[in-house]
């Protein structure tokens, strides 16, 4: 099979798998909404408090949504054996995992980022920060998808990987959260958010350059064991 059609077919397959379960598509968004609901209940409904924390809250919830979703990134294909087939394919695994990243980012990152303004409004985030929030989530969810995929690939062969993956990848998410939340804070404080967004973009480049190698190595280990 020609290389380009191979990756095209893989991408279409990933999208088709996701789109055939529309209810599951909604899960990350519902998670986002439900957890956001908890914050006013826990912190109190005072608009000042909430708008102070809004950027951080939205970022933390997006991080959790990404982390929960990434756990199942390779699980289905591992269970039904398609992953073994992909490992045998002549195309390098380094590139084979990229469609997985893209579809996960699209459904657990980009979709969240586009819906985030609604929740930002509900939490009282100043309107001037909305654009930066969306941009930072678009970039940051890309980084988190790659980093989370490493954890997912390492734990896909384990029966109880769910809690473990949180321990494994949370430390790696720290810089993304710091710069993502800082970008929103900067926009709220009338300061330029560009440097933070640039740092997130730099992290995304680094993650896309090195991450697939780590994911490929981890997948081989998981399938071999």
């Amino acid at each position: 099979m020609a290389t380009s059609s191979f990756y095209g077919a893989l991408l279409r397959r990933q999208l088709a798998l996701a789109l055939r379960r529309p209810v599951q598509l909604l899960n990350p968004l519902l998670f986002f909404a439900v957890v956001i609901l908890l914050f006013p209940l826990g912190l109190g409904p005072a608009p000042d408090t909430l708008s102070n924390f809004a950027g951080g809250i939205l970022w933390i919830v997006a991080l959790l949504a990404n982390m929960l979703g990434v756990d199942s990134l390779f699980r289905g294909d591992f269970d039904d054996g398609s992953l073994d087939q992909l490992l045998l394919a002549e195309q390098p695994l380094y590139f084979v995992v990229l469609p997985y990243f893209f579809v996960h980012w699209l459904l657990n990152g980009a979709l969240l980022a586009l819906l985030a303004p609604l929740f930002a409004l509900m939490l009282g985030l100043p309107a001037r920060a909305t654009g930066v929030l969306v941009l930072s989530l678009l970039l940051g969810c890309g980084v988190m998808t790659v980093l989370g995929a490493i954890g997912a690939a390492l734990t896909v062969g384990l029966r109880r990987g769910g809690m473990l993956i949180v321990l494994l990848i949370t430390p790696f998410y720290v810089p993304v959260l710091i710069f993502g939340a800082a970008a929103v804070q900067a926009a709220v404080a009338h300061q330029p958010a560009g440097p933070y967004l640039a740092l997130l973009a730099a992290m995304l480049s680094l993650a896309l350059g090195l991450g697939p190698a780590a994911v490929a190595a981890a997948l081989r280990i998981s399938v071999d064991s």
């Binding site: 062969g157 384990l158 321990l167 494994l168 790696f172 810089p175 190595a217 064991s225």
Partner: protein, 259 residues
């Protein structure tokens, strides 16, 4: 994988050392003789450094006597971070050359490093009470150490979770290497995030802000902690080697010889 006749910057002697390092009985023997002199040195050095630092240095003009915890806190923190790199390098060697002993070294380093990180956190928290007035301050370096503790615990938990121990070692090596790339980024980002901590007191370039009379015992303590780390690492490795090789003839012979 590596042809011996290929032109190489590594001499034949180094290759033979490399092959010997891959041999469990050789490593078991040599680590025993290393421990016999290194352990007394480590304990003696720690006793000298701690006594010197605790009894024979002047109190700090601002912090009084409370600063003396530096003689435990700083060495533990320094070696805890170095331990991660020991673990990651051992993991890399295991992944690249499939050396049998490297994954033993990697998994032996993890609990020692985690323990040192924990010591650094506890002593830092005790030091923080008189200095900052709180047991826990979300300061950049404390937070980084907490993240380091989670990195160590993650490696240990991942190893525990795999039934197939050969796969567990390779998975942990990948995780440790990913951590190595991430640690500088995490440290820098947490640094930017917040800093309440006093700036680093020992600088290798430029003048130290610590008085030489306080610096010398601190250096003795740091070197002793490194020695102690090596001893614990070798001790852990010896136990793991015996466990893994318990069915081989050399271990049986050893058991008969030592009774």
């Amino acid at each position: 994988m590596f042809a011996p006749d290929a032109p190489s910057i590594i001499s034949d002697d180094m290759w033979s050392l490399f092959h010997k390092l891959g041999s469990p009985p050789w490593l078991y023997r040599i680590s025993g003789s290393i421990l016999r002199w290194l352990l007394p040195i480590a304990v003696l050095g720690l006793a000298v450094g701690a006594t010197w630092g605790l009894l024979y240095t002047a109190p700090d003009f601002r912090q009084g006597n409370s600063y003396r915890i530096i003689y435990i806190h700083v060495p533990a923190a320094v070696v805890a971070l170095a331990g991660y790199y020991v673990m990651a390098i051992a993991g890399a060697i295991h992944l690249i050359w499939k050396m049998k002993i490297a994954d033993v070294a990697m998994m032996a380093a993890a609990p020692v490093g985690a323990a040192l990180t924990f010591i650094a956190l506890v002593t830092g928290s005790i030091w923080g009470k008189p200095t900052w007035g709180a047991w826990w301050v979300w300061d950049a370096r404390i937070t980084s150490m907490l993240i380091l503790l989670f990195l160590y615990l993650g490696v240990m938990a991942l190893h525990e979770a795999y039934d197939n121990k050969a796969a567990a070692s390779r998975a942990c090596a990948v995780l440790a290497l990913v951590g190595t790339v991430n640690i500088p980024i995490i440290y820098k980002s947490v640094d930017w995030w917040y800093s309440l901590h006093q700036p680093a007191s020992i600088k290798f370039s430029g003048a130290s802000t610590i008085d030489p009379s306080m610096l010398w015992p601190l250096l003795v303590c740091i070197i002793s902690f490194y020695a102690l780390f090596t001893c614990a690492l070798l001790g852990n490795m010896r136990v793991a080697i015996l466990q893994r090789e318990r069915r081989t003839s050399w271990v049986r012979r050893l058991a008969v010889e030592t009774g």
